[in-house]
Amino acid sequence: MQPLANVTPLRPAQRAGAIEIRDVGQVFRTAGAEVVALSQVSLEIKPGRFVVLVGPSGCGKSTLLMMLAGLREPTSGSILINGTPITKPDPDRVGVVFQEASLFPWLTAEENVEFPLALRGIAKAERRAKAEEALKLVGLEGFGKRHPHELSGGMKQRVSIARGLVQDPPVLLMDEPFAALDEQTRMTMGDELLRIWAATGKTIVFVTHSLTEAVYLADEVVVMSARPGRIVDHLQVSLPRPRTYEMLSGDVFGSLRDRIWRHIRKSA
């Protein structure tokens, strides 16, 4: 990983996770019928990489993410994070950032961030200190006492990211975190996420529908197709970092996006 030149890490970059997905399949059984959601998916992700999963609806990218989070067990194959299989949620190894509106509206921003720590019975003072640090990391210092309904869409997702990072897990999973945001906020949040990633050095697996977002953020883009869900391409994004807005109109960016689009058009 190359840290951004203009970023001073708040914490030394550390604790990045290695992910191994081996021959994973997922079959749903609904009312007698069997649907193959994923078939023979294998993928290796090196520590500290920013990997984006894209693909048409129903390609199983979210299912794959849920399996990485331990929320769903693979029907076949195995998933290893830092060499150990993941079979149930393990907040020590994996933090998850969900789509919009996953914050608890009855808790303040800092209480939301503290939630994973509260589940483990960590003392109030320590919880508060860690939540403050995490909120500072995502650029929300001083907003801890607000309730989600008092925050903008972008700020809510920053709180979600802080909640995902508060236990300092080596892997951060993100399921279309910016899908509900407007275009402008979405671009800003992308830059913010890259800053946070550079500051923490986590391995990030990010699911999105947006090809532009995929190429802009990623070290590697994994393209999936539907029925059955499988990996059809795995691209390295060679664009230098820090990524800039100007790159969006460049040739490298355009050809990468075209290549992804051709896969998706074929399978849709």
């Binding site: 929320l71 994996v94 509106a101 589940l119």
Partner: protein, 251 residues
């Protein structure tokens, strides 16, 4: 905030106008004052009645019955509602049946309650319970279903146990809906108990109101109506106040 002020002002004006209308109708003989005693007379009688120990003990009897019926119906109905909502199959089977039961006017069962329990405390509490339980079951089931799947997924992904999920996610998430359910249940509960008192009872404020009516004691009757109305409105408003404090939880 002038908007909120004008709204409150308008509301107060309507209430005052109604009382003024009541007062004039009676005072100037538009309506026979024996049929409709004036507002001032009624409130005078109310103050007088509240001094009397017999009225106070009637109020105490009714309050005990209402609270007992409520304290039995809410946890019992809440538990049934929760169990129904938790099990999809059970919910599908039982829900229409509950709607059937709910649609029947409960008052037609009152004679049976008297035959089974006799006239007394248990008959009134029993009927209050019966009037309340269906709405509690149905609103609890709705409250459980109102909990967003996203919240449960978040809790699970951070390793929450079943107890932690119930306490930290289900309960706070359901609270706004539950409070509303509590408020509406109390309306049903109060109606049930007072109806039972008016139908057949030896004590309680409902019994008093019925007998004042039978004896053509209009002042006392109206004072009793005002009394019960005030108690009902007060309870409703307290819960509504708590509700508005957590209204943003619904989003």
């Amino acid at each position: 905030m002038s908007d909120r002020w004008t709204i409150s002002l308008g509301r107060i004006a309507i209430v005052l106008a109604l009382f003024a209308l009541w007062e004039t109708l009676s005072r100037f003989g538009v309506v026979n004052s024996r049929l409709l005693p004036s507002a001032s007379d009624t409130f005078g009688t109310l103050a007088d009645l509240l001094q009397r120990s017999s009225v106070r003990s009637d109020l105490a009897v009714t309050a005990t019955e209402v609270l007992t019926a409520f304290a039995l119906a809410v946890p019992f109905g809440g538990l049934i509602g929760f169990l129904i909502a938790e099990n999809r199959y059970f919910a599908d089977v039982v829900k229409p049946l509950l709607f059937f039961a709910f649609s029947i006017p409960k008052s037609i069962f009152l004679p049976m309650f008297i035959l089974v329990f006799g006239v007394g405390f248990s008959q009134k509490v029993g009927f209050g319970f019966f009037s309340t339980i269906f709405i509690v079951i149905m609103s609890t089931a709705t409250a459980v279903e109102s909990v967003r799947v996203e919240y449960l997924t978040v809790a699970r992904s951070y390793g929450a146990t079943r107890a932690q999920t119930a306490w930290r996610v289900y309960l706070p998430s359901m609270l706004p809906v539950l409070l509303e359910a509590l408020r509406i249940s109390m309306i049903f509960n109060l109606t049930g108990v007072i109806l039972a008192e008016m139908y057949a009872s030896r004590d309680g404020i409902g019994h008093q109101i019925a007998s004042w009516g039978e004896n053509f004691q209009m002042k006392q009757l109206l004072a009793g109506v005002v009394m019960v109305a005030a108690i009902a409105i007060a309870f409703n408003e307290i819960i509504r106040w708590v509700e508005t404090r957590c209204s943003h939880w619904r989003t």
